[in-house]
């Protein structure tokens, strides 16, 4: 166990989240089982008041989770200085078996909590509060991945061992690696990049046709293949090195923090596409504004990421 100031900060906030999320969880369960909009009993009035507390707590957690996610990556980057063999965050993340799962849960939770807020917003805008049960049921379910994330995070920092030698990103993201990531490199990269553009087009198509299921599906696949194409193909052009595939090194200062721009636009784009789409299916109300935001950020990501190979080709006259 290493207690750097950054780790203590993260653990402290985890403890706060856990405390408040537990309160929200208990209240949500009560609301879920006892809610009766027609009742005029004091219990119902109390529940209505408590539902505000739940939404305040979730807002608090979500608003802090966004910057905290970036802070977590930064902390891993910094830890790579003291962990032998790690050159960037990826080495640290992978130094523990479940490091990657922790990462995945962190991302999923951002989507879940964000979606809860969208749903809450839609609910508050309607005099009949039609989604009360749905949103509290959703939180009761979303509480589980949050709990898992916090448990994983605590055990992640507890089992970080500074004397253990870990692999650097060079070996993690390569053909020779034993992990399932290496499978990706066996597939022809032009196929993966093709799929990335294909789903990009599908997002646009879904938007033009106003077909919500297509739009949701396309966004889901888009975020998946964006990351794959980024690791397999585009990152090499950012680094201008045919063998460097790391998705974390993008965040370092040498590349002007372009990673932050890429990941944030990808998250915002697919968040509004995916969650906005589901919201529309649930509420049966148009959320064109969300789709426009989604389209804009997805296109921004696509353009930015495509710029690197093109610029490289123009400069050097060859592909990597």
């Amino acid at each position: 166990m290493t207690l750097t100031p950054e780790i203590i900060a993260i653990l402290m906030l985890d403890a706060l989240f856990l405390f408040f999320a537990l309160i929200a969880f208990v209240l949500s369960l009560r609301i879920l089982f006892k809610w009766d909009i027609r009742s005029t009993q004091p219990l119902q009035y109390a529940l209505e008041k408590q539902s505000y507390l739940v939404s305040v707590i979730i807002k608090y957690i979500f608003v802090l989770k966004l910057p905290l996610f970036l802070f977590y990556i930064f902390t891993c980057n910094k830890l790579s200085n003291i962990i032998t063999g790690a050159m960037c965050a990826s080495g640290v993340v992978n130094s523990v078996d479940f490091g990657l799962y922790l990462m995945v849960f962190k991302i999923i939770n951002l989507y879940l909590f964000g979606f809860w807020l969208l749903l809450n917003n839609a609910d508050m805008k309607d005099e009949l509060s039609p989604f009360v049960r749905m949103k509290f049921l959703f939180f009761v379910i979303a509480f589980i991945p949050l709990l898992l994330e916090i448990i994983l995070e605590i055990s992640f920092f507890a089992s970080l061992n500074i004397s253990k030698i870990v692999s650097c990103c060079g070996t993690l993201f390569s053909l020779t690696s034993a992990s399932y990531l290496s499978l990706l490199f066996k597939v022809d990269s032009s196929l993966l990049v093709g799929l990335f553009y294909f789903f990009g087009l599908m997002v646009l198509l879904g938007y033009i046709l106003k077909n919500i299921p297509v739009f949701i599906f396309a966004n889901l696949m888009y975020v998946l293949f964006s990351l794959i194409a980024l690791i397999v193909f585009f990152s090499t052009y950012v680094y201008e090195l045919p063998t460097h595939h790391c998705p974390f090194c993008l965040l370092q200062q040498e590349y002007y923090g372009v990673g932050y721009l890429l990941y944030i636009s990808l998250f915002v784009g697919t968040f509004y596409g995916f969650c906005g789409g589901i919201l529309e299916m649930v509420t049966h109300k148009g959320h064109t504004k969300f789709f426009k935001i989604s389209l804009f950020f997805n296109a921004f990501y696509l353009g930015l990421v495509s710029l690197y190979p093109v610029a490289y080709y123009l400069k050097n006259g060859v592909w990597l």
Binding site: L3, P5, M12, L13, V56, F71, I162
Partner: protein
């Protein structure tokens, strides 16, 4: 996030804070004190880490120490020659150095032997050696000393010379031929440079031995390989690489600041309770105000938002105040009292200037450690206030 900032509400919140000045000033002061302590500790440890890192950068890639029965002991000079035969080794320099305890002042000096015809193991030292004539030093039995040493000696009336007590218990008079200041002040402050022969005499060492050997390599990537070869050649020698030292420094200071943070957490928890208590105890005037606001058409959300603005303003102000105070305290006043805890070396060492080190990451860290706690402590009280029944004020 959907609507633009409500400045009227913000104005109302500022007004509300000012109207309850006494209570809020109390909270503001305690909280900024907390932020101040926290930032000072982190600034000092970061600053020392920076200083040490620049020291580490100039260190040799590998330092070899000989261990006999678990204790460090002298190395034969001939081993330096043998090391050169290992492929990849650029140079192997034997060092003669040690600590000299000056009883009267109760401090340790680092005594380093130098030789005119030998390369020094690091650049800063080489510069100092180049600037003096070692031959002359040897002839006159002179030494050059760091600024800190000079100061301590002067305090004890040694103006131009110093009497060492050698290992045999004899006096050895050495004149002070010069004073150097080094850009890397942390280690140079307590250093005494004198010719190797004098050093041998003071330490009572065999002239065929050295304290340790430093090895430079051509390609840093080969270090692990070379270390394993050295281990084969001389099993009684322990190799310490630059990386080892860097990591252990970082650990020491992370550990120290971690220790402080753990204490801080206890303070923060106490503070959390105080804030919770302060904000949940509403005066009848405050209750009446909330009732009025509800009667004129404020929703629970509006009241919670207003309370959030209040706590954000207070905590953010306290954060900025504590931060500025800490910057002033650490870098302008050089952190009296607090830095001693972090140094823990001999009395001489603290006499260096904490280099300025401040970045966005540090700012984020401090922010995350302070403001969210405050806001968390006010979450439930704010909500409770917003649920007050408005019809009570109508009676």
């Amino acid at each position: 996030m959907k609507s633009k900032m409500n400045f009227l509400l913000l104005e109302y919140a500022i007004n509300a804070i000012l109207r309850r000045g006494k209570k809020n000033i109390f909270i503001l002061l305690i909280f900024s004190m907390l932020v101040f302590l926290l930032s000072s500790v982190l600034f000092i440890s970061d600053s020392i880490k920076l200083e040490l890192n620049s020291v580490v950068k100039s260190l040799p890639e590998i330092t070899l120490q000989r261990f006999v029965a678990g204790k460090q002991s002298d190395v034969s000079l001939s081993r330096a020659e043998e090391l050169l035969s290992i492929e990849g080794v650029k140079s192997a320099i034997p060092r003669i150095w040690g600590y000299y305890y000056f009883k009267v002042a109760g401090v340790n000096f680092s005594v380093v032997g130098i030789d005119a015809f030998e390369d020094q193991y690091k650049e800063s030292l080489q510069k100092i050696v180049d600037s003096v004539d070692v031959g002359v030093l040897e002839k006159n039995s002179g030494m050059i000393v760091g600024e800190g040493v000079k100061k301590v000696l002067e305090e004890n009336y040694y103006k131009d010379f110093f009497n060492f007590v050698t290992a045999e218990g004899k006096w050895k008079k050495v004149t002070i031929a010069g004073v150097f200041s080094s850009d890397i002040s942390l280690e140079a402050n307590d250093m005494i440079l004198l010719p190797k022969n004098t050093a041998y005499e003071i330490f009572g060492m065999d002239k065929k031995m050295a304290t340790d050997i430093v090895v430079k390599v051509s390609n840093p990537k080969e270090i692990p390989m070379i270390v394993s070869k050295i281990n084969l050649l001389f099993p009684d020698m322990r190799a310490i690489t630059k990386d080892d030292i860097r990591v252990s420094y970082q650990n020491i200071f992370d550990y120290k600041s971690g220790f402080f943070l753990s204490l801080f957490l206890i303070c923060a928890f106490t503070f959390f309770i105080i804030i919770y208590d302060k904000t949940s105890g509403l005066s009848s005037q405050e209750k009446k105000e909330i009732g009025i606001l509800k009667a004129v058409g404020w929703s629970m959300d509006d009241i919670i938002k207003e309370k959030f603005y209040e706590s954000f303003i207070i905590s953010f102000c306290a954060f900025i105040m504590g931060l500025c105070a800490a910057l002033f305290f650490v870098y302008f006043l050089q952190a009296p009292l607090l830095r001693d805890i972090f140094m823990g070396y001999s009395k001489l060492k603290p006499d260096f200037i904490l280099p300025f080190s401040f970045n966005v990451e540090m700012l984020c860290l401090l922010f995350l450690l302070s403001v969210p706690i405050y806001i968390a402590a006010t979450l439930i009280p704010s909500w409770k206030a917003s649920t007050l029944d408005a019809d009570e004020v109508m009676r």
